[in-house]
């Protein structure tokens, strides 16, 4: 084989360099807005910092405080309670946001004619901001002058007593979240091989059998993606309880993100807030890995 000429070598080097240039903008933003904050957060978790003055290295103190090994345990209790509330939200909201959009997508996929209208109708809430959604539902849920209680002639304390406050948050979050996942499912449904469905129909499979044995397995990867994304976004729940219930009644809907936010920005304890974020992130990672393992069990990926 002939060795490369000088010109060919230069052109190859340029090609490599220019392809690198294409990723530079992404890299810059990734480093500036993801990597640097991540490293900063990990470092600050071992520091004390009020946002204005010198950063002081305090070792494991933040973590000891959060595990109740220091102090009275009040802050530890408030933090873990908020984590529990987040876990409750994840445990109920994630399945809702996985099953409901699938059913909706299935219906829309089946009825072609009205499908477009319903697709728009169900997708519409997802383009609204969390503040807008909360204000809309606030007028629906108000106990004494709200639309829901007026409509059903009921007297349900939607936002001021448990378990209704949680139920309100689930209703709102589901209404808001169905559209996004529905679109992903619709894309997945249109990729289910038609020949398999036809073959199954010829073999006498009913709709239920086709769904269980063909549609669902074909949509495995869409499902995994939706599961992961929904779980992670459920962990990050913040706006809904912050605006709709302000964490009440009696802090029962104060979720972890609210506790972290208040510690950092209300209380100016950035180090402790970072330690809280690290702990929450660890829980999220554990959750994600477990659910991924369970989903892909027995497969070589």
């Amino acid at each position: 084989m002939r060795p490369f000429t000088k010109q060919q070598r230069r052109s190859k080097a340029w090609d490599e360099f220019s392809s690198f240039l294409f990723v530079v903008p992404y890299l810059v933003f990734f480093i500036a807005f993801a990597l640097v904050p991540l490293v900063l957060c990990l470092t600050l978790a071992f520091c004390q910092w009020d946002g204005a003055n010198e950063i002081e290295w305090i070792g494991l103190q933040n973590f000891k405080l959060l595990f109740g090994a220091l102090g009275t345990g009040q802050i530890a209790m408030e933090f873990w309670q908020s984590v529990l509330h987040t876990l409750l939200f994840v445990a109920i909201e994630t399945p809702l946001l996985i099953v409901l959009p699938f059913l909706v997508a299935l219906l829309i996929h089946k009825c072609r004619r009205a499908g477009k209208f319903f697709m728009g109708a169900f997708y519409f809430p997802s383009i609204l901001s969390v503040a807008t959604v909360c204000i809309i539902w606030y007028f629906m849920f108000d106990t004494n002058a709200g639309i829901l209680n007026n409509l059903f002639k009921s007297n349900i304390p939607w936002l001021t007593q448990q378990p209704y406050a949680w139920i309100s948050l689930f209703i709102l979050s589901s209404w808001w979240g169905i559209g996004g996942n529905m679109v992903l499912y619709l894309a997945g449904l249109s990729n289910v091989p038609k020949e398999c469905l036809e073959a199954a129909a010829l073999d006498g499979a009913g709709p239920w059998q086709s769904l269980v044995h063909i549609t669902l397995p074909s949509m495995r990867y869409t499902m995994i993606y939706v599961l992961m994304m929904t779980t992670l976004s459920s962990f990050n729940v913040f706006g809904q309880p912050e605006i709709l219930t302000a964490g009440g009644p009696d802090s029962s809907t104060t979720v972890a993100m609210m506790e972290i936010y208040n510690t950092a920005f209300g209380g100016s304890r950035f180090g402790r807030a970072c330690a809280m974020s690290v702990l929450l992130a660890l829980i999220m990672v554990a959750f994600t890995i477990t659910s991924y393992k369970l989903q892909t069990k027995g497969e070589n990926l």
């Binding site: 204005a52 802050i75 106990t143 001021t160 302000a246 009696d250």
Partner: protein
């Protein structure tokens, strides 16, 4: 060759944002030159209709001092303001010089070493304590040093629906208040005396006022939370009795639920601050409105007390670094003070007494109930850095008692215990 040109162009296009990105960061301290116009950045959280009045004052100031001083206003909600304020040390090019803030947040910001001592400001303005509502004046002094200057006081007053109650029937004590509420409550028509919100909001301010009127205190001289005293228990029991014993309020009124019912003509009274005067259009068209306003019961008269907040003006230590800038800030504050009538039209009670005594001010009828209340205002411990947190724990207790979760005494005891533990933890 063509391909090469194309890749070169694309690479250049991709690099552009990076270059632009790096060019956006001027960095460094924006030292204001020794001569020429001084530009001041003024941050406040007046995002409602009051913000328009403040903007008008600033615009007039800029016109009058054109070529000498220019004030640039940055409005944001209060939470954002305090969030951004803590990080201003590292970015002086956008940091403010003058900041308006609530007296309740003052001590926390002083604790972060962000504010400049302004002991010589009263002398510069040629004013003394006797020119100001004393509670607002004193709120700016922390540990013997003045860090802020009073702008206004915003007490809670009682709005009422003129279709449901006449002026003669208005209560001036809480006993009369209960009586008239019982009389006006009609479950058939769905009209209540006063919808007590069980979520935080205004209820904790009403609770604090009744507690102070009962002779109690929120914090003692050593800054220990003492709102679980007998006076506190009685105040909170009174509020929860409105819901469960006298039944003049529906149960489970959420945050804002009181406003919704009042606007729907389903409650006689509604409590809120003076900023609502413009929302209800009471300053200009008070006579024709079906909504009236009166002082909170127990807030006026010789022994009247109301728990209130006060907006204060502060100077930031890191940006006000030269005498010239400081003088510009002082000139600006002086201008706001002498033009505080404009601020009154925004629906605020200026803390400057000559304004309150002026004929024009006294013609603003809707503000007078607030003014009477403001003169008897108590502002809580503005010099205690955990006041805001302690007040919030108290808010949870008030909410828990009104929603029926705990008895008044138990709710308050729990709040004091949690808050005391939280302080110990927070010091780590």
């Amino acid at each position: 060759m063509r391909k090469k040109c194309l890749s070169l162009c694309l690479s250049a296009a991709m690099l552009l944002p990076c270059i632009a990105f790096s060019a956006c960061n001027p960095g460094g301290d924006p030292n204001i030159s020794e001569t020429g116009e001084v530009t001041l950045r003024f941050w406040n959280g007046f995002t409602g209709m009051d913000g328009d009045s403040m903007d008008a004052i600033v615009a007039d100031f800029n016109e009058e001092y054109a070529g000498e001083i220019k004030v640039e206003t940055d409005k944001m909600d209060w939470d954002t303001l305090f969030t951004k304020l803590t990080t201003t040390k590292s970015n002086l090019s956008t940091a403010p010089h003058v900041v308006a803030m609530s007296n309740q947040r003052l001590a926390g910001i002083v604790d972060q070493d962000l504010l400049m001592a302004i002991d010589d400001l009263p002398e510069y303005l040629g004013v003394t304590q006797s020119d100001y509502i004393s509670s607002a004046w004193n709120a700016g002094v922390i540990g013997g040093t003045r860090y802020s200057f009073p702008l206004d006081i915003h007490p809670t007053a009682m709005f009422y629906n003129k279709d449901l109650i006449s002026e003669e029937e208005l209560p001036s004590t809480w006993e009369e208040f209960v009586e008239i509420c019982v009389e006006k409550t009609n479950t058939e028509t769905g009209v209540y005396g006063f919808a007590v919100p069980s979520m935080y909001s205004i209820t904790k301010d009403i609770f604090a006022s009744i507690l102070l009127q009962n002779g109690g205190a929120l914090f003692d001289a050593e800054n220990n939370a003492v709102y679980n005293s007998d006076q506190g228990d009685a105040a909170l029991e009174f509020l929860s009795d409105l819901v469960y014993t006298y039944k003049v309020s529906p149960e489970n009124v959420g945050a804002g639920g009181d406003y919704t019912l009042f606007m729907a003509g389903r409650s006689v009274f509604y409590f809120d601050g003076p900023w609502l005067l413009n929302t209800f259009d009471l300053i200009k068209n008070g006579d024709t409105s079906h909504i009236g306003v009166a002082p909170m019961p127990g807030a006026t008269g010789e022994n009247g007390i109301s728990f209130s907040g006060s907006h204060q003006l502060t100077l930031m230590k890191n940006t006000v670094t030269s005498e010239r800038v400081k003088e510009a800030c002082y000139t600006f504050i002086q201008y706001i003070q002498t033009h505080s009538l404009e601020w009154a039209y925004a629906g605020q009670v200026p803390a400057y007494l000559p304004t309150l005594e002026s004929e024009e001010y006294q013609q603003i009828e809707a503000l007078q109930p607030f003014t009477q209340t403001a003169l008897n205002a108590q502002l809580g411990q503005s010099d205690y850095k955990y006041f805001y947190e302690g007040y919030n724990y108290m808010g949870v207790a008030v909410s828990n008692a009104i929603s029926g979760k705990y008895s008044a005494a138990e709710a308050l005891d729990r709040a004091v215990r949690s808050f005391s533990n939280w302080i110990i933890d927070n010091e780590y």
